[in-house]
């Protein structure tokens, strides 16, 4: 187990260098004017130009200069120093304020997913080909097929503006209630996927040979499904949820943007909109790390859940 974790950790470190290098290279290399590239179409003041040149060591040239700058950027990333956005705020401060909101939103979405998605998936599998099964299949297909950029604004319009059940936007210090609608919208996608995954997984496991064995032991059906089948079926579901939680933590760019939830995704959304290069680079870099970390956690989780992997 320890060796497994260490191996995965090493892989993650390599992946960290690889992805950050790619991000950095794509953002900065080969552009005519790197400062203008960072700022996009916005005019750059002399002060900003001076700051960016110093911050990213843009005076150094060539491959050596590139790597010099890359490692400098990496060092900053590791220290948590992400520099300033074009609006002059410390990016780390922006993120520090945004994280709690994003985490809250992600937790709501995850709760929705687990409570409705996984439960319904199990029920659909047990009552396979029944009315409930067919209804959930159609509904999840709809949810999966409707892009968030449609779902989020329409939910906002119908449930926030037309029939104001929920506050249409979250605002600066969002309450739990204000986060509920964005949380549900955000969770609905994971919900649909989790439901289908759970259904498939439980269905497959219900057919497994060990179920026949459990029946031949004279166990109650409730126990066979609730212990034997569920424990096996939930391995892929839990790992999916882990990946999904990582994704949600990474900020739901669209949902947070539409509902004005001041989380990480919202700041990235704003950074893209305002062509704030440093902000985008900073957030994307941090998100890549979050993503890698969540993948690591998921792999370890997978090993914990599945003895066959644990003892490889």
């Amino acid at each position: 187990m320890l060796r497994f974790i260490l191996r995965r950790l090493l892989q993650m470190v390599l992946a960290f260098f690889g992805t950050t290098l790619i991000v950095y290279a794509l953002m900065f290399a080969g552009q005519g004017d790197p400062i203008q590239a960072l700022a996009g179409e916005r005019p750059v003041t002399a002060a900003q130009r001076a700051y960016l040149t110093e911050k990213y060591h843009l005076d150094a040239t060539g491959v050596g200069g590139f790597f010099y700058r890359y490692f400098d950027y990496l060092g900053g990333l590791v220290r948590g120093d992400l520099g300033q956005s074009l609006t002059g705020r410390q990016i780390s401060d922006i993120l520090a304020a945004a994280w709690p909101v994003t985490v809250k939103l992600a937790v709501i979405a995850m709760a929705v997913t687990v409570i409705f998605g996984v439960t319904s998936g199990v029920i659909a599998a047990i009552r396979r080909s029944g009315v409930f099964d067919h209804a959930t299949l159609v509904l999840t297909l709809l949810v999966l097929g409707i892009p968030t950029i449609v779902l989020a604004p329409l939910a906002q319009y119908f449930l926030g503006v037309r029939w104001p059940v929920f506050p249409p936007t979250a605002g600066a210090q969002p309450s739990f209630y204000a986060l509920l609608l964005p949380g549900i919208v955000l969770g609905s996608l994971s919900l649909a996927t989790a439901l289908r995954l759970t259904r498939t997984s439980v269905t497959e496991n219900l057919r497994a040979d060990y179920v026949r064995t459990a029946r031949s032991k004279g166990l109650r059906r409730r126990r066979i499904v609730g212990v034997h089948v569920l424990r096996n079926s939930l391995i892929p579901v839990v790992t999916f949820l882990g990946v999904e939680l990582g994704n949600l933590m990474g900020g739901a760019i669209i949902t947070e943007g539409v509902f004005n939830v001041p989380g990480v995704g919202f700041n990235l959304f704003r950074g893209i909109r305002t062509e704030d290069g440093p902000l985008v680079v900073g957030i994307v870099s941090v998100l890549v790390v979050v993503y890698l970390l969540s993948n690591l956690v998921v792999d370890v989780l997978y090993a914990v859940l599945d003895p066959r992997i644990r003892y490889e």
Binding site: A37, G145, P147, T148, Y157, A192, V243, L287, Y291, V298
Partner: protein
């Protein structure tokens, strides 16, 4: 990130788990030999499936809009007059006018072209990459497979939206055509993996068939065997996956355009219009609802079409 990727996520479960060391997990569609012998059955099932017909009809309709939008909308979508801002329906504008005073319906109709162009071309490039990579990995196995499967794992692990943001940042100041092709390329580069896995597993199944061994004994070369015997087997499942992928590519394009890093005005895209409609939803919701409906129906149509075909070919899921 969980946003438009999730469309394809049902395809990707095993993949998205991000667990390395099981690149061989075949997708649901990896049963080409059975699929082939069941082609007649599958078609009979399809013909009776209303979902298939509805989605096919929608796809044809959208395609027609993309080719000849003038047949559907009377007005010029770029003929925008601010004095008509949020005006009600009149003339050919059955859904009235948006914030800029453009014909909402005409814009939605003309938006089909960009969406379908991006979707179809991305799917095409995806298909080519997936067939080449999947065939090579599946047919030759060994280290070729190991390397390619690792590449697939890595690309699968890239968060699509973040990667697109990074990649498309580079063309943020370029012209319309460049942006269009950049979007297509980015989507294809990030989206080929699922199809490649499906091709790979069907190739592996086909490779083990007796007639392939027979062809090899008769002296057929690798190229000929791959082209004549293996490719046909891999094609059907690949087409199913690509149909669904086409739907998600359309959703992805709209999302990128919505964010402002995909297509930009004057190109007409549903994503751009949804964003514009969203901002002014309190004054008038139609400019939000109309392109939203067009986009959702189009994406759904492709996904349902792929789903219906796959279900017909995969009796296990019945």
């Amino acid at each position: 990130m969980s946003d438009f990727e999730t469309v394809a996520a049902t395809e990707n479960q095993a993949a998205r788990r991000g667990v390395s060391g099981e690149p061989g997990t075949p997708g649901r569609a990896g049963r080409p030999d059975r699929a082939r012998s069941l082609a007649g059955d599958a078609w009979r099932d399809l013909r009776r499936n209303p979902v298939f017909w509805i989605s096919l009809l929608l796809v044809v309709l959208v395609a027609a809009m993309a080719v000849a939008p003038g047949l559907f909308a009377a007005n010029d979508p770029r003929d925008c007059v601010l004095s008509r801002q949020h005006a009600g329906p009149s003339g050919g504008a059955i859904f009235g006018y948006d914030f800029q005073g453009c014909d909402t319906f005409a814009r939605a109709v003309y938006g089909a072209r960009a969406s379908l162009l991006v979707g179809a071309l991305s799917a095409l490039i995806t298909g080519v990459i997936a067939l080449v990579v999947g065939m090579l990995a599946g047919y030759f196995g060994g280290w070729v497979d190991a390397v390619l499967s690792r590449v697939i794992d890595i690309v699968l692990g890239i968060p699509l939206l973040l990667a697109a943001i990074v990649l498309l940042k580079r063309v943020s100041t370029s012209g319309d055509t460049v942006r269009l092709f950049a979007v297509i390329l980015v989507l294809a580069l990030l989206g080929w993996t699922t199809a490649a896995r499906v091709v790979r597993s069907s190739v592996i199944t086909a490779r083990e068939q007796d007639y392939v061994a027979a062809a090899r004994m008769l002296g057929a070369g690798n190229g000929r065997i791959m082209w004549r015997h293996i490719l046909p087997n891999a094609l059907a499942p690949a087409i199913v996956v690509l149909t669904i992928a086409l739907g998600s590519f359309i959703a992805a394009e709209a999302t990128l355009s919505f964010l402002g890093i995909g297509l930009k005005a004057p190109t007409i895209s549903w994503g751009i219009d949804i964003d514009a409609g969203r901002v002014h939803m309190r004054e008038s919701a139609t400019p939000l609802i109309v392109p939203s409906t067009f986009l959702a129906l189009t994406v759904l149509a492709f996904i349902m079409l792929g789903d219906a075909i796959r279900d017909a070919f995969d009796p296990k899921l019945r």
